[in-house]
Symmetry: C2
Subunit: 135 residues, 2 copies
């Protein structure tokens, strides 16, 4: 079951410049920053009340985010919905013939499990499913 939003991700080419824009506009601090080697991105997290905005910046031209920016420019990249179980959602979608990037949930940040729906399923929009349940 989908519970609601987990986070919104924005693709940016210059992370320091983007952090400056977002923190100055909303008068907030960065709550977390890390390099995710797996996806070849550096991430900075901004909290707007209960909303988590993830600024993601490629650290290599091979990063999917670099390719996204090349094609679409700096823009909203994806949003993630929080679920009871990422694997259950993926299983249900697979059975319904929904195109998926991930058929098996994989490890996300802080012990979460994540899976991406193929953008083809949603007219070009990339949506991630996340759960923070412990096994």
């Amino acid at each position: 079951m989908i519970k609601g939003l987990d986070h919104i991700a924005v693709a940016v080419s210059d992370l320091d410049a983007a952090v400056k824009l977002w923190t100055e506009t909303f008068q907030v601090a960065v709550s977390h920053r890390e390099i995710i080697q797996d996806q070849l991105v550096e991430v900075a997290m901004i909290k707007l009340g209960s909303l988590h905005v993830e600024l993601i910046s490629p650290i290599s031209s091979d990063s999917p985010v670099a390719k996204f920016i090349e094609k679409r420019g700096e823009a909203l990249h994806h949003f993630a919905v929080a679920s009871e179980s990422t694997q259950d959602e993926l299983d249900r979608m697979k059975q319904s013939g929904i195109p998926l990037i991930d058929e098996m949930a994989r490890a996300g940040a802080k012990g979460s499990r994540i899976g991406f729906i193929h953008p083809q399923a949603l007219g070009g929009v990339l949506v991630e499913i996340v759960d923070h349940q412990k096994e």
Copy 2:
């Protein structure tokens, strides 16, 4: 003060086709549908748990959403944050020199007040501020 997310909006060229994709993928129904003449769009609202996703489709080629789709394709269009007072946020931003589309809050759906930050403020990302306070 920003409290959290209000909604995410997705620009689509064919509203019926988009409704079919989103409702089939997430096994949910459309909760609301209306034409907003003011913005030359038709809107369908999908609820994913507590998350409101607004599918917005131009009803005229003069619509800003038509121009967005022409330039960027069907994609995430903007997100809206819920605030205590839209006007207070706009006032604070104006004083800080943040570029705004709306310096004065205007009427949104269901008695809300809305205002848009200029995308220039956030590296090309369009963010709306909403409050649902009664005067």
